[in-house]
């Protein structure tokens, strides 16, 4: 029994946790964008891929991983800002905004995906793991890089939550998410807040790309695969809810990891997406409330 815990269950849970933290980072950006702009960003996964490719390219040019952790999100900020101002805002006030923005971002995702394939080629690439080796804790071997990923990712999530819920900037974001007209009439620069939040969400996706590139490899369609899980996390957690993204991200990835010990791993995705379907029927608002709604 102890052997099973040490050599099977615990490592599997750590793998699930590291995936969970990465999914939360992507889902966090997705849920902030939805909570604030009411836009389902179908290109979010491709921005995650852009982050991974930037890390790959800049790493190959000689920049070290620790610098990339800061530099890539910073490079993603203006990209996100320009996409929001140049594309999203142009259709934001159209009567069928939800459909238009959904299709627009879907199209943008395809453009990004194909562009990555043209520039970097269709083959899978993998940057070197920045931290090698493993540490033994209570007889359980824990890979160092995955432990770093979990710690760093959770720190970023905590920092984002602190900014959103404990600062005036966060109060501006929450106010604009709930009532953009009233927030604007108090002097909140709503247009800038929207573009800034979109850019921040994109930067978080890029950061997840940098963190996961050494673990899951880099290929042009990597965003498409990953975003399905992130969307599931956002919907189950409650669209627009930061707490929901964290809880659902951790729970769903643990379900995925642990279930694959007992049944064939090919069933882990149907189980997770099945939870999504059941949630949409039973509690369509998800586990938690939306950003700006308490």
């Amino acid at each position: 029994m102890i052997d099973y815990l040490q050599f099977v269950l615990a490592p599997q849970m750590v793998t699930g946790l590291s995936l969970g933290v990465a999914v939360i980072l992507v889902a966090l950006g997705l849920t902030i964008i939805f909570g604030l702009l009411d836009v389902i960003n179908m290109s979010h996964g491709e921005f995650y891929a852009v982050g991974a490719y930037l890390a790959l390219a800049l790493g190959a040019a000689g920049l070290n991983f620790w610098l990339l952790l800061v530099l890539v999100p910073l490079l993603m900020l203006p990209i996100g800002f320009l996409v929001e101002k140049g594309l999203i805002q142009r259709v934001f006030n159209s009567p069928d905004r939800h459909t238009t923005t959904l299709l627009l971002t879907f199209g943008l995702g395809l453009v990004i995906e194909e562009t990555l394939a043209v520039i970097f080629g269709p083959n899978t690439q993998r940057p070197p793991t920045p931290i090698r080796g493993a540490v033994e804790v209570f007889g359980v071997m824990l890979p160092n890089y995955r432990m770093f990923l979990i710690g760093f990712g959770l720190s970023v999530v905590a920092a984002v939550a602190l900014v959103i819920y404990r600062t005036r900037l966060g109060a501006m974001v929450r106010a604009a998410a709930f009532d953009r007209h009233m927030a604007a009439s108090l002097g909140v620069p709503v247009g800038f807040v929207f573009a800034g939040a979109f850019a921040f969400g994109i930067a978080l996706a890029g950061l997840a790309g940098v963190l996961l590139a050494p673990v899951y490899s880099v290929f042009p369609t990597m965003g498409r695969d990953f975003i399905l899980l992130a969307f599931t996390v956002v919907i189950v957690g409650g669209m627009g809810s930061i707490a929901g993204a964290v809880v659902a991200g951790l729970v769903l990835t643990q379900i995925q990891a642990i279930s694959s010990l007992f049944i064939s791993p090919v069933w882990s995705d149907p189980i997770v997406f099945g939870i999504l379907v059941v949630m949409l029927v039973v509690r369509p608002q998800g586990l938690f409330g939306r950003l700006g709604r308490g």
């Binding site: 005036r168 109060a171 501006m172 929450r174 106010a175 709930f178 009532d179 007209h181 009233m182 927030a183 604007a184 009439s185 108090l186 002097g187 909140v188 620069p189 709503v190 247009g191 409330g289 950003l291 700006g292 709604r293 308490g294």
Partner: protein, 235 residues
């Protein structure tokens, strides 16, 4: 000095405001009266930038506000207390008030703290509940919060839409007292109110609106004019 001249506003094909002219001086409370649906709220929303005017101009101290976004209107010294208060759920009383500080840019943190402390001194009930979510307050307290939030930025022009609707008489008195204080501080107040008798007690001048046009205007001290106003807007 605040002026609205030749204002026209449409909602789609509906011509709601049809050439309205209004003016107000510093320290003046101007009542805007009329039956439901005649365009009173639309006038305030157009001034606040929530609705774009089709034509005409709106100026505050010589600067045009017409067509500006709501945040730019706010930065030019316009505070807005909308009809349904629009308190942000998920934000505490203090956070709601602090957002009002954004209206007046360029103040130091110390000056902002003084402004917030001043508001809490004026509204002790809000001070007691500063950590409470704004939407958990009673209706009267939420109205106080909406007023405090609009006034913490020391606006030059305060737009107040139906502030006493559904409130107990004691709270109504407090609301009118706050409006008197704003007037004493030199703020221009544009007040839309169904409680005409109460509003006439605080207003200096009035405009009666009918189908998007000014049909009557005058000084509230003119007894004959007041009687004519009450007749004109009676249902």
């Amino acid at each position: 000095m605040f002026t609205i001249s030749g204002l026209h506003t449409h909602y789609g094909l509906s011509h709601i405001i049809q050439g309205v002219d209004i003016e107000a001086r510093p320290g003046e409370v101007v009542g805007i009266f009329g039956r439901n649906g005649v365009g009173k709220t639309t006038i305030l929303k157009t001034v606040a930038g929530w609705v774009r005017p089709t034509s005409g101009d709106i100026t505050l101290d010589g600067v045009s506000l017409a067509g500006l976004s709501p945040d730019r209107v706010a930065h030019r010294g316009v505070g807005f207390v909308p009809e349904d208060r629009r308190i942000f759920p998920g934000l505490t009383v203090e956070e709601n008030i602090q957002l009002g500080l954004l209206q007046r840019r360029g103040r130091s943190r110390a000056e902002e703290r003084v402004a917030v402390d001043g508001v809490f001194a004026r509204f002790p009930r809000l001070a007691e509940r500063r950590r409470q979510l704004g939407t958990t307050l009673s209706g009267g307290e939420q109205q106080m919060l909406a007023m405090a939030r609009a006034m913490v930025g020391a606006p030059t022009l305060l737009l107040v839409d139906e502030p006493t609707e559904g409130l107990a008489p004691m709270i109504v008195e407090q609301i009118f007292a706050i409006i008197r204080e704003a007037k004493a501080a030199g703020t221009i107040v544009l007040l839309v109110e169904q409680n005409v008798h109460g509003a006439l007690a605080v207003a200096d001048r009035y405009y009666a609106i009918e189908r998007g046009r000014v049909i009557l205007s005058g000084d509230t001290r003119d007894e004959a004019g007041r009687a004519e106003l009450l007749g004109a807007i009676a249902v």
